[in-house]
Symmetry: C2
Subunit: 452 residues, 2 copies
Amino acid sequence: MSKPTPLSGFPELLPSERVVERTVADSLRRTFSLHGFAEIETRAVEPLDQLLRKGETSKEVYVLRRLQETSEEGHAGMGLHFDLTVPFARYVLENAGKLEFPFRRYQVQKAWRGERPQEGRFREFTQADIDVVMKDELPFHFDVEVARVMAEAISALPLPPMTLRINNRKLIEGFYRGIGAPDPAKVITVIDKLDKLSTDEVAALLVTDAGLDDAQAASCLELATITAADGSFVEQVRALGVEHELLETGLAELAAVVDGVSDLDGDRFSVRAQLSLARGLDYYTGTVFEISMDGFESLKSVGGGGRYDALASDGKTTYPGVGISFGISRTLIPLIARGHLRGSRPVPSAVLVAVWDEDSRTVSNQVAQRLRARGIPTEVAPSAQKLGKQIRYAERRGIPFVWFPPTAADETVHQVKDIRDGNQVEADPDAWQPPTQDLHPTIVSTTLEELS
Amino acid sequence: MSKPTPLSGFPELLPSERVVERTVADSLRRTFSLHGFAEIETRAVEPLDQLLRKGETSKEVYVLRRLQETSEEGHAGMGLHFDLTVPFARYVLENAGKLEFPFRRYQVQKAWRGERPQEGRFREFTQADIDVVMKDELPFHFDVEVARVMAEAISALPLPPMTLRINNRKLIEGFYRGIGAPDPAKVITVIDKLDKLSTDEVAALLVTDAGLDDAQAASCLELATITAADGSFVEQVRALGVEHELLETGLAELAAVVDGVSDLDGDRFSVRAQLSLARGLDYYTGTVFEISMDGFESLKSVGGGGRYDALASDGKTTYPGVGISFGISRTLIPLIARGHLRGSRPVPSAVLVAVWDEDSRTVSNQVAQRLRARGIPTEVAPSAQKLGKQIRYAERRGIPFVWFPPTAADETVHQVKDIRDGNQVEADPDAWQPPTQDLHPTIVSTTLEELS
């Protein structure tokens, strides 16, 4: 076998890079669990008809077949999931009788899309999703809750600062109804083009495509410029003089969600009510979310979500939900590739136990076991080379401590050396403890300070 | 969408069942890390030519294509990995220049096989693999090390007792050479049939297929009966009076591996030198391992591995390795399905904070945040129902504690109730701590005692 080459769109990490991903995933899990979200995993495959319900992603689905499959029956009709929402909706329907509602769940798993790879966009990627799903009706306070949980989760990560942008479908649809727009959905579609077209071009489309007059168009564009870090957007909207019941509901909901995370707003995290945000608004029915990473706007959103009044339905019962997804690969792989993040070492070991000669390897193994028994990751030198070589073995792996068991000549004294400063002391394998920050590999952010 | 039905061979777990899988995976990770094994993940897909190098699994491979793929080029030629060894060997070759050798790695990931589903055999399953790989030459003591690490890892699991069976290819090949077998590989193939055929049938095949005389055949069969929990097998083999250099090496190696884990032999774990074990001996070159779960022999092996002198090779450099794989799905799914294992509750929450009325939900949220700040998983009641209903909400989820914030009438007193015994006490949200065993969901083994 000749040297294999990487496969475009299927990123893999070196051991020290995996430390970053593992640490981030564990941190997310911890926050989600603290808020009572249960973990589930769903299978990687779904029936194709489920995967293709959203027409626009159909071309991105990976279809499976068994190599020796003779007929088209077998697994024809199965594909890899392209997100965690479709499998979750199916899981809820399939297990509805065995779940307690409201059902809070988180899911950290891979998904696959056959799209063209580019920075932050992969064919295999890991996501972290939280959702709350209920039978029949889901109280609004869960919108505030999922925003809060994800805001806490991402602001705890050792990454560049994140911004959570929030809007509300009821707010903008109510506004468009309030000004007498004949087709509010069409207005939303046109306003959504603001990130690609000029304001003048969008204004013209609002007239030609959405049937607004010039004054109505101007009003819609003015609404889209409104953004605020707190509830002050409400007064800005009111100043536009439009009234509608749905608008009032949307204003109250958006203000409540923003207020629910505003105490986290700071160096690590920002919250913005942003009334131009139109993230798949045909799909969502109230709150919508989008997460971006400051300084990495080229990645576009690194997460998003919202409220859907029918996450799933079996015809008899409807299951409304609200949730947010965070792109772990989308966020981490570019940061790692650009050299901003790495693990402090490629091995878990905090200690290397030296071996004087192969006959005394058992002695070294026993020392290692005593350290491990107290939770200290430890490995034993692979061969009884000269001590200098054993120390260099540790250095190359970033293992901070080398342990010297007693030699035959002096049968009781253990010593441990911090190979970073050369400091060497006597130590008891049943009592010695490395500094907490040396115990496990951690994330090192090399140039993130400059970015934040 | 009508109610979906489960997909045969693709098991999914309910939230309380996922607690079991998560706890087991975390426990394995912890042991592997303590021994200095670094975690990696590999992509789910490999080139088909890599996956098909072992001819016998070709029919089980899932092949991928993109739904809208026009030509056969694109992803034709990609399949889902069916184990973690093929991807690991490829990863080592691809990243050889960036890895430090010896390279200890563990990997806990899903794999896929299109085989017929049965108890413990799935089309999607999770494995935990440890391996040590080296350039050119891998010292023998790593065979002892991986046996030790996996033995510690599995004996720490709250599962039925496990047995690690060990044999050595050099030992049996050396023995067959020592008795003058014309084709030792053929003898191994025939001896491997001992679990399907009678001793007499195997004896006949040793003569007709492997070219032995009756005395040689009897000698081989006698070797295969030898089993021991310690180094006493060496004397049993010597008593057969066969001499060969390779046999001596094999005896010494097997004795060393058995000795390296013998102190763990006990109620939770057994070690056996078993000289009939012929687990893919054409593939392995020295030590071979097989793990079984006591009382669940119908599952056959739940793990296995061994030494391969050429895990990978790029033509210039050869990478020998030694490793063991443990089947997480293979072990847990049958135990869960038979009702032996479950999580103590389906939610992480240790506390439910009651809500007096929707206006005071903020007060309840603040209590929850103070508990979470000290690492106590907490959720807030979904609605301000009567207290009895809120307590039943906790009961249905197995949440052990319900917290009552101060009412408007009495503004300072917090109370917390253990809903299992009804005991209710005043408590400070910044100081109260639940018993450690209630903090997180744990694994409950309902009838395992009877099995072990």
